[in-house]
Subunit: 464 residues, 2 copies
Amino acid sequence: MDRLTFDYGNMMAPRLSGRGIDPARLDAMADRFSGVVRQVERQREDGTLGFLSLPYETQLVDQIRKFADSPASLFEDVVVLGIGGSALGTIALRDALLPAGWNTLSADARNEEPRLHVLDNVDPRTIGPLLDRLDLSTALFDVVSKSGTTAETMSQFLIVRDRLRAVLPDEEAYRRHLVFTTDPDNGVLRDLARKEKIAALPVPPNVGGRYSVLSAVGLLPAALVGIDIEALLAGARAMDQRCRSDVLAENPAGLFAALQWLAHTEAGAPIHVMMAYGDALYSIADWFRQLWAESLGKQKDLDGADVFVGPTPVKALGTTDQHSQVQLYVEGPFDKTFTFLRLGEHTVDVPIPEIYGDIDALAYLGGHTLGQLLDAEQRATAAALARHGRMNMTIELPALTPHAVGELLMMLEIAAVYMGALYGIDPLNQPGVELGKRLTYGLMGRSGYEDTELPDADPRWISR
Amino acid sequence: MDRLTFDYGNMMAPRLSGRGIDPARLDAMADRFSGVVRQVERQREDGTLGFLSLPYETQLVDQIRKFADSPASLFEDVVVLGIGGSALGTIALRDALLPAGWNTLSADARNEEPRLHVLDNVDPRTIGPLLDRLDLSTALFDVVSKSGTTAETMSQFLIVRDRLRAVLPDEEAYRRHLVFTTDPDNGVLRDLARKEKIAALPVPPNVGGRYSVLSAVGLLPAALVGIDIEALLAGARAMDQRCRSDVLAENPAGLFAALQWLAHTEAGAPIHVMMAYGDALYSIADWFRQLWAESLGKQKDLDGADVFVGPTPVKALGTTDQHSQVQLYVEGPFDKTFTFLRLGEHTVDVPIPEIYGDIDALAYLGGHTLGQLLDAEQRATAAALARHGRMNMTIELPALTPHAVGELLMMLEIAAVYMGALYGIDPLNQPGVELGKRLTYGLMGRSGYEDTELPDADPRWISR
């Protein structure tokens, strides 16, 4: 089977007229890298890195298949209530692996699979009308929260529960419209699942939100809409095997991490733009944005010293952002690297007809396809950046298949862990979000948080 | 009428325990700023800054109204073919000012107004199926390109023209499904409009794409779906008047620009995150991203010297990105400022029911609304950033109205021009995108571009 390829030539000084990374510096990483791989293998063994086991969990796949192939197949809408790591992976899988505009297609065009909504915000203007429109009697709600305490998701759950009970007063009936994806033993949702006999799937305790796409968090919604989750996991396994090599030159996640780390710490590029060529790949860039920011943005290193590190991930969309961001990318500061995502093959394509052959500005387009134009623009943009001395690399998926997407997600997750080791920080925690949560609790009047009062706005510094 | 307020207290050193901007440094900008305003007023007079006149073009509004209120009202789908500045403003207006999920609503819920699609990419997987699904006999295509040479938009146009002619062989009929928004006198689309008698609206030559939202580029689609464009322009006029003051403390766009410039050049923050609280405001952050990047990302200053400047704009969405980016924002490097967009009032809201009062982690939510939660999280995030020494400011729209959106767009456009003056660069050009266009032409076989061959990939630096 064709597999993902990763071209990093445009990161290297010989291709960038001296800017970029000296190949000798990359070679010099080899020793340190094999130490990193050994450390990761130890953490695989001791269970610290639970996400590495997910592609091998055949029992979980059976459990999900059983759930997805039974009464769920009767639902017309699947609604995920979740935010951050409980939503981004599912959105990435949906947008990459279902036909575009899935939720607007007829049931026939969807092969009778349900629509898939992911509610990952608490905007009343979005949620109110959507719930008003949904036929709750044919909708399944998947409430995804490891702890069961996420304010946004639990608010949505309270609203949905209330509405479901109003439409389906019978407890047996109501219950069938809910499934919880949560900690296997503890927490609010697990307790409720037990008490109210609601179906529940596990998020392993050693898998954090941003590494959870290949757990039930992402697999259940994917299976419910007919995505081939076995192929997705096979792709992830294939990549995991490639990334067990402690030879840097043979380990794609290792190369990705080593190059990004050198680009940031030695070549002055703290901003990492992931530019997806194709609408279907854009949500993977958004998923990556969480993986990179939460894993690597840290105040403390492993010794507890203040380091305030972390590259800033940015998502971009080609060709669209050529007309929005590329002016800055080409001419602005040399503070960025670019990772392009592209497809080797377009299984859906649209020919551009040969009309207006007498108009120079149009004639060259006819006879090509939109897929060819998209590909040409990606190659042209990568080359233009390189000629302007801007480091960039290109990941090519052979085609838009579950296997290729599984490879890509796994490669990036492993790369995040390697990056954590190179920066000397913990890529698995997120202590910085606690203060905001506490202050929100205070503003919402949660008992025990009365000491979190906010200062008043200062009228000196308000323009009205 | 309530107007937009701008709170920048959390940019200032006294609120950030010494990090951030010294109030004396802001005061010291006053003289220089009044010079900037005088320069902008001269450029308003001499026609360099065409966008400043747009809110006063009553004749254009009449022309658009005439078009929008006539046969167009019979269409069920309006499809904009455009990219970059020809699309981002329209998307921002649609998402901010129409009910959420507009295109999925019934005709009744849309007050019989048409759906609005904006095709701003050339992904065949998106465009092919969409065109297959559309009923072309009730669709209007607005082709938006100032020059009529944009490869992406013209490819779409060729495809659409071919399909329209197949469905509507009668020339009279076919023609009524097209409108061009383009240069008033020159270019490919203007010539075609004349030759094929197709309706056309003007983009003034002195208005660049990223400053064109209040021209026919944004106003025509907005009017076609029932947005109150007069109120939008009234808001823009109100802001323009506020921003004619050469007293920095009274000029909101001036304060915005001065603070951002100080934050970047004196307080070490080259990254400018715009974080919209509410799904409806997110596309404004995306529009802003083009405005900021293309206007300020420049290799040369006005004297032609290499400067390679430009802050990097980043879009973020609250509350969603609290669970994705805030870890980095709070704990990572001190290289960012944050501009929050929020609403003073939620005209659509959803109450959170009071159930599970015995569960501590849920009880505090009941009795509030989703709007209150969204607001509390914004305030909490701003305060948490400030406590961690991170500069941030908050723009509050009194409500989600065309007037308030008009105020906001105009404020940001004027701020971009002020920023250009402060950096000493031209905020109106975009020379950096030319090379990529030339290389694309070469790859697509356009005659005259045979000299743009790309180097082969280097097998040393490919991981397969």
